[in-house]
Symmetry: C2
Subunit: 138 residues, 2 copies
DNA sequence: TTTGGTGCAAAACCTTTGCATTAGG
DNA sequence: CCTAATGCAAAGGTTTTGCACCAAA
């Protein structure tokens, strides 16, 4: 299965890095680097866009953050539990539900071996409209 | 489920459009617009990159071609059967197997409704190393 | 002090758009 | 003839990189 990197964490604790982590912790939705940068600036945190990108990369590398790529090729980040899992994302409000789907994992492995493939990794994301957005749809 | 577009096909048959379709038909792997453009140029076909992009968009719109976005945000295209399905891609040689996985569809719908989500769509791609590449690696 | 972190500006990258020209029907 | 399609060049957007400066340990 997709081996997790050695996770060579950051070596120095800085104000900026803490800010990124905390901003991410405060959001339940997948967020882009630029959005995060805007949020931080708005709340008065002085930080450069470059640093936000680098911090997010570091966090993703060390497995503290999950990332997904949108249809438009934009990368979104979200603080997640370390275990492998997938997401069910509301395409209206962005609300996200983590899904630990042993069923799919099994399915994926079975399909793969059936076709002689090994070292399997997979990308599985579900998108839909949550109950709130379906009800009050603005 | 993700509704398929009305598929308003191209209105004029042109040399370039035919070239793109044929080039795509000749490849079993997911290919980027730029790669396709290179291939066409190499085989002596005069065609602009812009036209390749536009042709691929049209083909994708009309459902004659499947597309996926890589981790780096690049869009890859591949000629596919029209029915909804997923892919098992060899990360070494690019060999691709189409997978019609009613099992996952069911799973996805179940998970979604369980959480009150509707209008579900999903992204599911499997990556691995095929038998040829595992055996003769190199 | 030492060296990783920061941030601006500029580059790199893929993709889309404007507009004059070409060619399919 | 009429207008969609083409293609160049330029713009658009996100992400990365170069380099001088700053600050954590």
């Amino acid at each position: 299965m997709s081996g997790s990197a050695p996770a060579t964490g950051p070596q120095r604790q800085t104000r900026q890095r803490a800010a990124v982590q905390s901003a991410l912790a405060g959001r339940m939705e997948f967020t882009s680097a630029q959005q995060l940068h805007d949020l931080l600036r708005q709340q008065g945190t002085a930080i450069g866009l470059t640093t936000v990108y680098r911090s997010l990369q570091a966090l993703a590398d060390s497995g503290q953050v999950d990332l997904l790529v949108t249809d438009e090729g934009q990368t979104l980040y979200r603080q997640c539990s370390a275990e492998h899992h997938h997401h069910l994302v509301c395409r209206d409000c962005g609300r996200t539900v983590e899904i630990a789907g042993p069923a799919v994992e099994t399915w994926a492995d079975a399909i793969a071996e059936e076709h002689g493939f090994s070292e399997i990794s997979h990308t599985i994301e579900l998108f839909g409209r949550c109950s709130s957005c379906t009800a009050g749809t603005g």
